[in-house]
Amino acid sequence: MIDANGMPQTAVVIGGGSQIARDTMMLLADRRLSAVVLAGRDEAGLQATATELRARGVERVLTWSLDVTETDRLDAFAERAASELGSVDLVLMAVGALGPSDLDALDAKNVCRAAATNFSGPAAALAAFVAILRAQGTGRIVVLSSVAGVRARKANFVYGAAKAGIDGFALGLADALEGSGVGVTVVRPGFVRTKMTTGLKAAPFAVESQFVAEAIVRGLETEASVVWVPPVLRVVLALMRLLPRGLWRRIPG
């Protein structure tokens, strides 16, 4: 069950091998987390996080191989997770991968892959949990979106467009779930120094993944619907959306 402070006892993490997922679960382990399903493609990452979580006192840690783009497996996955955990307090969607970065790299295949990894796959996986959470009458979905989805930028517009998709999906889902006992939190980090961004030049307001994890936990405590990381990006992005396209297009990187 989720307690009065918004802390979950059970969680399903999709993209469970990611750094942000790991850091978030470690914080929740210090609070109330007692059982978790870590699912994803990064087998080594899942195992490493599982080991750390067990050492941190989480009683049950399950690691399952899952690719959200294989959508016909998702319903069975959600059912199995719910039956293993008894009830699912938190679903953390932490799947994402950068797409092609310039026109030369752009092709039909990698656009589809970026859309599937960042939008349609995650959306489908969340959909698989919606009925379970509604039947429980309680639970929270946390979706890692990105400021890149707020306004697509030429340097990563494929990723940005897909993130805009999952962001819109999550906000709409939140409204649709109003009154169901199930809440949705959309997390919009800026540049986070993780495996995914290794080798890229850090953007302004770059943060460590630990910082994102702390913001997620704060978001759970406050039952926030949108969390900007760092918070100043809320203002920065509001201004950026007002920039004329002629200027916007010239932003480097």
């Binding site: 069950m1 307690d3 402070n5 509604r134 039947a135 429980q136 009458g137 169901s180």
Partner: protein, 466 residues
Amino acid sequence: MNVASRRELLAGWGRSAASRATLVRPETVSELEDLVVRERGTLPMVARGLGRSYGDAAQCGGGLVVDCTGLNRILELDVGTTKVRAQAGVSVDELLRWLVPKGLFPPVTPGTRFVTLGGAIASDVHGKNHHVDGTVSRHLDYLRIATPTGLVECSPTQRDDVFWATCGGMGLTGVVLEAVLRLLPIETSTMLVDTERVDDLDSCMARLSEDQDAYRYSVAWVDGLAAGRHLGRSVLTRANHAVVADLPVNARHDPLRLDLRRPLQVPVRPPISFLTPRTVAAFNELWYRRTPRHRTGEMVPLASFFYPLDGLAGWNLLYGPRGFTQYQFVVPLGAEATVRAVLERLSKARAASFLAVLKRFGEEGRGHLSFPTEGWTLALDVPLGSPGLGVLLDCLDELVLSAGGRVYLAKDGRVRPEMLASMYPRLASWLEIRESLDPEGVLGSDLARRVGLCSVRRPSTSRAGA
């Protein structure tokens, strides 16, 4: 199931961790017995009264919540033996309207009259007279409860194991259908109140310990935001029921007049909390200052003495959408330093809100999960959502537990499950009785599942029915 049902989002008085359940409101005892005893369905279920427990005791996400307020009949009132037999859904408010004009008063009443008798029993509530009269269970002669294995009649002498597991059992041993309560005869509906202002915690505790037998009711309202040498500054309120001879001559013709005014209603659901540390500190200051240093023999109508907050219906809405919790604990006599430490930490974090309540409890009762034990209890309202609050409250739990104390399940929304067995050493014997009454885990609440009080059956994980 023949009773009309609807899906509803339910939360406790603190409005946190709401969950959606199927809500049914039986109109007859037989309908209720159908639900709990004869049909039992497939969902876990819990009874709910007026929803005044602060946390998640009377909700059951994905399950069935049985609203008992429809079963609110007063079945028998014997003025001679001063006993009342009533259905569990009757509220203290309704009891007062019936009893006070006849010169009778509930032997124990919590700080709000909007609780049901069943809820009061499930939480084994206490009042300002705990040091004299104990909890409500001490005044019960009989309980009739519906359990998944059948109807049970119990009392302190008959099936006493079931009786003491049910009083304070948070509704998890059965649904109370009916109770017989021994009442307190009163001559008037007026209280004789002595009020004094004390500057710090030590003097407050000293005053509460001295001549405590001289007052049936005694409590201290503590300013939870005062710090330093003002830590624990408080207003001590102690009272007895007035007798007719105490009243001025012109009030003696109708000494039992009961004035339960319709409360004012908080008109809207504010989107933000009005109760910030600043506004609350200002309120506390004002309230402390306007109290005279010492005043004796003030005549106060019993409603304003017992239920000051009932004057503003929906005051919990003032905490905004994120809600609040009440941190209430008890530590044994001798652990005064722990009370001080808790108050210091909360005041330093500016976490506490309105006036906190400090009271010296009398002897421990016999309910297995009953909260009060002899010692000091402190209750503070705490707005939720501020940074570090969860961790702070966890630290306070540790202080309380290491002093041999416990937190109150009827107020709790967040205690660590692993602390429960140490806080409630009779948990194991309670569990045994619960298992015998409900082996399939039909009765269950969000509280029970969150703190692992007992095993609760899972609702079927079918994808339909949402």
